[in-house]
Symmetry: C2
Subunit: 257 residues, 2 copies
């Protein structure tokens, strides 16, 4: 069999609310799609439904912006309450322009607006415009818990990947990236493997979980018909314990901050 | 049918040499894999075999390094002849450290060593160590010509994507990225599509061709058993004319150069 990768977006995943049991919902969606989990399968889950199920909604009316948030909001042309939340979720602001705030998130990665989302969000009072959604408190932990539940229910050895869409330096357009990992490698080290002519390979470390995140993001789509859970069969690398940290370039090795 | 994406690495693609007929080789590999091309299918091809077929091998012994190449080579700890080729293939050097030269390639993207590869390369005289492989002269054109041949042979409307593996700002590990595009969108604009609650979407432009490049890169693998052509079925966006340019962030809009 030639190497092949199959990604299937699970249909009819219901609207996720704070407290929703994501593992149960995913197992039901798999059953509806007639997919039986097998060793080596991976479930890729959009950050948004993880965050919602964990109650990471914040009503902007409850947020008191600091003086600094007010200043930055003025410069960026953003709601000071939103900027306050961005600052609370971040280690440092890297760039700020009209409409754009790029930060190092407290979770260690670089992204716009600390990953805070105000699309597809509705608060418990039904008024969507005053609510925003923060990233999960600990996406690696969320992935780990989800994996435990799915492995216990299926008996299969699985990986779980939580993804978001990030903009990039140098290139246009967002791509899916890993923000939480359980059971699959983030980075795969190919150093020392011979290539076709017994040279050592120049490409030595592959961002395998990010490549999978991008693939799954393509299948999920972004709009009304969004499908936030993707089942993956055929991931080419061995599953192992891992965490997001291996995908994050240490600041002192990063030439582009 | 739920959205699904299927990627299959074509088995037993033979060694590519300068002058190899890539289109014919891909059609034979598809036939062996019993894949019949259908409207909307995409072929993803590793840069390396496109470059080899186009004779982009350079014998380092024929390269006379300039004074500037000599200086930069000293600083980076690299072969001055290789650095000379990097400079010839680049518009500007963005960063230089021991072992690393990051440039803006003449094709417009940012990458290490101008994408010049000395793994998996053997010259006509069989001595691999003195030969390196440059990127294709015009990867969009290479993709376009390949697409024309494959469409003519199959009668199907197809996309062709030429990919390479690039390192990234901020994150560890390389990921597959587009360097040449024909017949599929590089960037997909989702602005104005309603989301689940009739907000306008925050994520507006998706780097769809780069997401597909990452997915295909995962399937290709990098080592001795490398499979440089991937067949894709289920790409979720409509095919259209495009070129790499739409994925390249203009320098004056790039906050991270």
């Amino acid at each position: 069999m030639p190497p092949a990768l199959h990604l299937t977006a699970l249909p009819a995943v219901p609207m996720i609310e704070p407290g929703s049991d994501l593992a149960a919902i995913i197992l039901e969606a798999l059953a509806r799609a007639e997919i039986e989990l097998a060793d080596g399968d991976i479930l890729v889950v959009a950050q948004k439904i993880v965050s919602k199920s964990e109650g990471r909604l914040v009503n902007l009316e409850t947020v008191e912006p600091s003086a600094r948030a007010g200043e930055l909001a003025e410069m960026a042309g953003k709601d000071p309450r939103l900027v306050e939340l961005i600052l609370r979720e971040s280690r440092q602001v890297l760039r700020l322009r009209r409409g754009v705030i790029i930060v190092e998130h407290r979770l260690g990665f670089i992204c716009a607006s600390a990953g805070i989302d105000h699309s597809n969000v509705r608060g418990p009072d039904g008024r969507p415009e005053d609510w925003v959604l923060l990233l999960p408190e600990d996406p690696d932990g969320s992935a780990r818990r989800l994996r435990q539940r799915l492995e216990a229910a299926s008996g299969a050895r699985l990986g779980v990947l939580i993804i978001d869409s990030h903009g990039r330096a140098w290139r246009m357009g967002t791509v899916g990236v890993a923000i939480g990992i359980a059971g699959l490698p983030g980075l795969v080290d190919l150093r020392g493997r011979p290539d076709l002519y017994d040279f050592s390979l120049q490409i030595t470390q592959v961002g395998a979980a990010d490549e999978l995140a991008a693939a799954a993001s393509l299948v999920m789509g972004q709009a009304a018909e969004g499908t936030p859970v993707v089942h993956v069969r055929g991931f080419p690398y061995a599953l192992r314990e891992a965490s997001l940290g291996e995908l994050l370039r240490p600041e002192n090795e990063d030439m582009f901050r």
